[in-house]
């Protein structure tokens, strides 16, 4: 079971996920339409790209935008959650060992304590996201079951990973559960709203170009958006 899940199935999952995400990016760009979007993408590509990069960079910096500064607690929660989600699986020592075994390469590993802390951040962050959705009426009205399922899909690999790591209960069971939930998470990336892992960049880039070309960028104003 373990060999199947970490062998051929994992490869299949990786291929589907990455090809899926590339397809989403390509489809996004192909679906842009200067006339319908009312943005002259091509003739002012320089302006557009400059402001696209600016838009992405400032939203990737905690408190980098007016928007992030307007809700400091949410911003901290949001960045901690996302950093944990991204950094932990890529740099976890155990994953590195697997990577070295199959491809002979390795990435810098995270010290165990840091990895634990990051994984806990994701679990606790996920919990707070759920609580936030319940507590605030403006978020509650937007929330659907789909939003909760996505939080569960995103947090499950971390929760199961922590249980396995602390060897609570049957280690083999929780390890398999961890691998399975991790693969479900990867597969969900291109097919669900989690596609924002790439579409965030595309959408921000588009709005950055919109502001850069049409809404002030060409007038020499660096608008924050």
């Amino acid at each position: 079971m373990y060999d199947l899940l970490t062998g051929p199935l994992l490869w299949l999952v990786f291929i589907v996920t990455f090809v899926g995400l590339i397809v989403r990016v390509v489809m996004y760009i192909r679906g842009l339409n200067w006339k319908l979007d009312r943005v002259a993408y091509r003739p002012h590509l320089g302006h557009g790209l400059k402001h696209a990069a600016r838009s992405i960079v400032f939203f990737l910096i905690p408190f980098g935008t007016h928007s992030w500064r307007s809700r400091p607690l949410f911003t901290i929660l949001f960045f901690a959650f996302h950093i944990g989600l991204l950094v932990t699986p890529i740099f976890l020592e155990a994953h590195n060992v697997m990577l070295e075994k199959s491809l002979g390469i390795r990435l810098p590993g995270l010290p165990a304590g840091v990895a634990d802390m990051l994984a806990w951040t994701v679990v606790v962050g996920g919990l707070f996201m759920v609580l936030r959705r319940i507590a605030f009426s403006d978020v509650r009205i937007l929330t659907t079951a789909y939003d909760y399922i996505l939080i569960v899909i995103s947090v499950a690999p971390f929760a199961t990973g922590l249980i396995a790591r602390y060897e609570l209960g049957n280690y083999d069971f929780w390890l398999i559960a961890h691998i399975l939930t991790g693969e479900i998470w990867l597969l969900a990336l291109p097919f669900t709203k989690l596609s924002h892992v790439v579409l965030f960049f595309m959408s921000r880039m588009q709005l950055g170009m919109d502001y850069g070309i049409k809404r002030g960028g060409m007038k020499g104003t660096s608008m924050s958006w």
Binding site: M27, Y28, I29, R30, G31, L32, N33, W34, K35, L36, D37, R38, V39, A40, R42, P43, H44, S55, F59, H66, S67, S70, R71, F74, F78, R133, F136, S137, D138, V139, R140, I141, L142, T143, T144, D147, K193, S195, H196, L199, F200, M202, S203, R204, Q206, L207, G208, D210, I213, K214, R215, G216, G217, K219, G220, T221, M223, S224, W225
Partner: protein, 462 residues
């Protein structure tokens, strides 16, 4: 009833039909007919499939439902922070549902969408600056308005407004003759005080072609005279076109995209005909947006630019002040607390925030200018944008919407509000009428005329 006599899916294209709808006071029959109007669900879904490309599709799909847009919306704030007023909810529960149901929606639902699209959102685009995913609900509501218009679900005044543009190529029934006569009348009216004052019509190859808002010739002809006086004092070689002088677009508020294209083509045709070096538009935000920012796309200009450089009035005025074409008498500068209304349509949507502030430095005595909070591209809509000001059915909602601007103005302590945009000017006038907080409001033109130094050779002989 598939189609009503007054309320139907057909745009108003004749004077006869226009008068028919116009005579239905307050749109009583019009709205009654709307309750019976069939939704052409097939056409609706076809249009969506053809026009909803990756930007809108992705926006609807990846909205994380995080609620970061809620506080960004002034309508959410002034309506008791009702969750239904969260921008993301507003668009997901209207356009989102239409898309989810592949256009299979009822008449009742379309009427609900109309209420939301025209009285819960002014398309001010402020929420777009707060969404981490770069989702701009203002853009989406504008799109929804187009869908609703094409199905006949549009407020009475905006159906008429876009009809006016279609029939008269102006937002009001100002004909070419009316316009040219008004130009002549205003020149005559003021020539005693301003010897040599002219409003040259259809002069070819002038440095400036001036365009305006049809409200000016119709209701405030002095605004046109003021523009003429300022060009005259600045020594500009300018003209107005007899056709293509109207740069507003109620059709943009109505979502009548075909008509938007026609309006702008008319202005651009005047540019091609008269070949001015550049064009200057009046103090109006939506007119600027329609003619300069969105217009090039409606007519299919690939570079997204009008045929010649086209400036908003504030840009010309700053240039005139900086080059010394217009000089201000320091003794006459404003010496009372004064604030500035940043118009969404040329500040948030074209970055002209610093231009207006530099003008303020010329015309306000240092120490008297009070910024609104928030300001510049983060300023709130005046409360009446996107057509909201003109729709009788939504007047109570519009009056609530004004409360944000009222609070912002009161917080500055200013008694005078400079509003270089017709729509903002109207909203601020209405808020004073409605709430009587003791403020005055003004365009830039009359303020500058009262404080400029008039060269001796332009003064009337004693």
């Amino acid at each position: 009833m598939p189609e009503g006599t007054l309320c139907n899916k057909q745009p108003i294209n004749t004077d006869e039909q226009l008068k028919l709808v116009l005579n239905d006071k307050g749109g009583k029959q019009y709205y009654a007919e709307m309750e019976q109007l069939d939704v052409d669900t097939e056409k609706l879904w076809n249009t969506i499939q053809k026009t909803m490309k990756s930007r809108l599709k992705t926006w609807l799909e990846i909205c994380a439902h995080c609620g970061l847009c809620s506080e960004s919306c002034f309508l959410y704030q002034v309506n008791g922070r009702k969750p239904e007023q969260v921008p993301s909810y507003k668009i997901q529960s209207t356009l989102g549902e239409i898309v989810k149901k592949k256009g299979q929606v009822s008449n009742e639902f379309m009427r609900h969408c109309m209420d939301v699209a025209w009285s819960w959102c002014t398309c001010c685009n402020r929420c777009g600056q707060f969404c981490p995913h770069g989702i701009d609900m203002g853009v989406m509501f504008s799109y929804l308005r187009g869908l609703l218009y094409s199905q006949g679900f549009v407020p009475w005044e905006l159906k008429i407004g876009s009809g006016m543009h279609r029939v008269y190529r102006a937002q009001m029934d100002v004909t070419t003759e009316d316009w040219v006569e008004t130009c002549e009348w205003m020149a005559e009216e003021n020539e005693e005080e301003w010897p040599g004052l002219e409003i040259p019509v259809d002069k070819e190859g002038a440095d400036i072609m001036y365009t305006c808002n049809a409200r000016e010739p119709k209701h405030y002809p002095e605004d046109l005279a003021e523009a003429a006086i300022l060009f005259h004092v600045a020594g500009e070689n300018w003209t107005v076109p007899s056709e293509g002088w109207e740069q507003t677009s109620l059709s943009m508020f109505a979502g009548d995209w075909e008509c938007c294209k026609d309006n702008v083509e008319n202005v651009y045709a005047a540019i091609e005909r008269l070949k001015p070096k550049r064009a200057i538009g009046t103090e109006c935000g939506h007119a600027h947006r329609a003619t300069v920012i969105e217009g090039p796309y409606w007519v299919g200009r690939e570079d997204g630019q009008p045929p010649v450089p086209f400036m908003h009035y504030v840009e010309w005025l700053l240039e005139a002040l900086e080059t010394g074409k217009i000089k201000i008498d320091p003794a006459k500068r404003i010496k009372e607390p004064v604030t500035l209304q940043d118009s969404c349509n040329y500040v948030r949507n074209q970055g002209l925030k610093n231009v207006t502030r530099k003008i303020i430095e010329y015309i306000v005595e240092p120490g008297y200018f009070r910024e609104m909070a928030p300001n510049k591209e983060y300023n709130y809509c005046c409360g009446g944008g996107g057509g909201f000001n003109g729709i009788g059915k939504y007047r109570p909602q519009r009056n609530v919407a004004l409360l944000k601007k009222l609070q912002q103005i009161q917080d500055t302590g200013a008694k005078l509000v400079i509003a270089p945009c017709h729509n903002c000017w109207d909203a601020i006038r209405d808020l004073e009428e409605e709430y009587e907080i003791g403020i005055r409001w003004s365009f830039l033109k009359p303020l500058v005329i009262n404080m400029m130094i008039v060269p001796d050779h332009l003064k009337p002989e004693e």
